[in-house]
């Protein structure tokens, strides 16, 4: 058995922070993705342009650079605003919020494309039929679009989740005590970097395997009404 010099708990603690950060980020990403996908398919050109600019610019910039921009940039914006009101202290964004915000915004651009594709995959005839029987748009959204959009979007969202989960490792750079940073701290104290990064990698792998199993179940559940060939 590997000797973790009593840092095993620290690693598990890091693991739980990683999971929390990833869950919060994916919720933010899904909300942003739904909004931006709706904007991309909207009638108003301005909304479409904003959503397009969002996805195009986010996908062209490394997530690490965006994370640094959010972490350092936002605190400076807040500081500038606070100075207008006579508050002169140094403001630091809590790393958890900065990390979740940055990763959520970045992966929101990817979920946008997933949702856009899923909404377009719903047969047009069904929407026409719903309109023909006089469904108001909210009811149409809830009864016709959403149940099918979720089914079409599940595989794509699963992929985004798997990538996002690994991207949370970047949050260690802004000093969030998640798995990677816990591994770095433990490695520093014990002088056994290989052991601890191996453990971290193994834990990430467990998360990936668990997610894969969970996503398979979710896919099966969300498409339970579909006849297979």
């Amino acid at each position: 058995m590997i000797d973790l010099h009593g840092y095993g708990w620290q690693m598990l603690l890091g693991l739980s922070v990683t999971v929390q950060a990833a869950l919060c980020s994916i919720v933010l990403a899904v909300l942003l993705g739904l909004l931006a996908a709706a904007a991309k398919l909207s009638r108003w050109r301005a909304l479409r342009a904003i959503a397009e600019a969002y996805t195009v610019s986010i996908r062209g910039v490394p997530e690490y650079v965006l994370l640094l921009l959010v972490f350092f940039g936002t605190s400076r914006v807040l500081q500038t605003i606070a100075r207008q009101f006579g508050y002169d202290e140094y403001i630091e964004i809590p790393p958890f919020f900065a990390g979740v915000f940055a990763i959520g915004v970045v992966y929101g651009a990817f979920t946008t494309e997933v949702f856009r594709g899923a909404i377009l995959a719903v047969p047009k005839g069904q929407i026409e039929a719903a309109k023909a029987v006089g469904m108001p748009s909210f009811l149409l959204w809830r009864r016709i679009l959403m149940p099918q959009v979720i089914r079409y979007a599940v595989p794509g969202l699963g992929n985004v989740w798997l990538v996002l989960l690994k991207a949370t490792a970047l949050m260690s750079v802004v000093n969030l005590d998640e798995l990677t940073r816990k591994a770095a701290i433990s490695a520093g104290y014990t002088k056994e970097p290989f052991t601890f990064y191996m453990v971290a990698a193994a834990l990430y792998l467990c998360l990936t395997i668990g997610s894969n199993l969970g996503l398979e179940a979710l896919e099966r559940r969300s498409s339970r009404g579909v006849r297979r060939a």
């Binding site: 195009v56 610019s57 996908r59 062209g60 910039v61 490394p62 997530e63 690490y64 650079v65 965006l66 640094l68 921009l69 350092f72 940039g73 400076r76 690994k166 991207a167 949370t168 490792a169 970047l170 260690s172 750079v173 990677t180 591994a183 770095a184 490695a187 056994e192 970097p193 290989f194 052991t195 990064y197 191996m198 971290a200 990698a201 990430y204 792998l205 990936t208 395997i209």
Partner: protein
């Protein structure tokens, strides 16, 4: 009189705009750091290009092993791809850069002069990482080669290696191009984290300048725009390449020099 008012208004507006722009960012710092940033960008290109090329060299044989029916051949490759794709690149980088020294005997080995250097560690990490993703890309592409073509090659008596060289691989590379383009973009974006192990590529250069000037915004937004430009130039390049390579799939133009004149109907049957 009206013209004068207009000119006065315009100059007032220009001054206002200049002050606004000057207040928005410290442009001098951006201009001063551009030469350094471009050197960093070249370093980024080197890192990405070397890793992608080495990854390609590793990935093609791995992909061939991966599509083999022999479990001794495909299972280790499957495990390798799964592990590399299931763990964060940052952890892989740390494992190689910080962790490799802990392996017994490595500090006396011939590898140590390389593993001690952050540059080689980054190249090794990115190579191993992209090799896993490229293996998966080429696996899919090899499986997409129509079976009839393979059968035809066999029926004319091509040997296995000739079949691979003339039929399977060229076809597979064409099928792999869109996914490969995507992998190039992803590797470019991932290369930013090399700055964490002190490599002076684009992001690392920006960070070094920031630690002297504290101009977070200016530098981060500048490099974000540089990454954006490079990314979409690459996207555009690959799109052109795909367009060129798919000429035989498109309809012949109906007007212009390449159009088939109605006087030669015999050719029509050749399609």
């Amino acid at each position: 009189m009206e013209t004068l008012t207009a000119i006065a208004g315009l100059s007032e507006f220009l001054m206002w705009a200049r002050d606004g722009l000057a207040g928005f960012a410290d442009w001098q710092i951006i201009v001063d750091s551009l030469p350094k940033l471009f050197r960093g960008l070249v370093r980024t290109f080197q890192l990405v290009a070397i890793s992608l090329a080495l990854g390609f060299v590793v990935a093609v044989p791995l992909a061939l092993l991966r599509v083999s029916r022999n479990p001794i051949a495909w299972m280790p490759v499957y495990a390798y791809v799964y592990v590399m794709r299931g763990t964060p690149l940052l952890v892989q980088l740390y494992l190689i850069y910080y962790g490799s020294g802990q392996i017994p005997g490595i500090q006396e080995s011939v590898f140590w002069p390389f593993l001690r250097e952050p540059w080689y560690c980054a190249v090794l990490t990115f190579t191993l990482n992209t090799a896993a993703y490229q293996t998966e890309i080429f696996r899919g592409a090899i499986l997409a080669v129509p079976h009839g073509e393979v059968e035809a090659a066999k029926s004319v008596g091509m040997s296995r290696s000739l079949l691979l060289r003339r039929i399977v691989l060229p076809r597979a590379f064409r099928y792999a191009l869109p996914a490969f383009a995507n992998e190039v973009i992803l590797t470019l974006q991932a290369s930013a984290i090399a700055s964490i192990v002190t490599i002076q590529e684009l992001t690392g250069t920006a960070e070094a300048i920031i630690s002297n000037t504290f101009a977070f915004y200016e530098l981060y937004i500048t490099i974000a725009l540089m990454y954006l430009t490079v990314t979409y130039s690459l996207v555009w390049m690959f799109r052109r390449m795909e367009h060129r390579l798919s000429g035989h799939l498109r309809d012949r133009p109906t007007i212009g020099p390449l159009a088939r004149s109605p006087a030669q109907p015999a050719e029509a049957g050749l399609r």
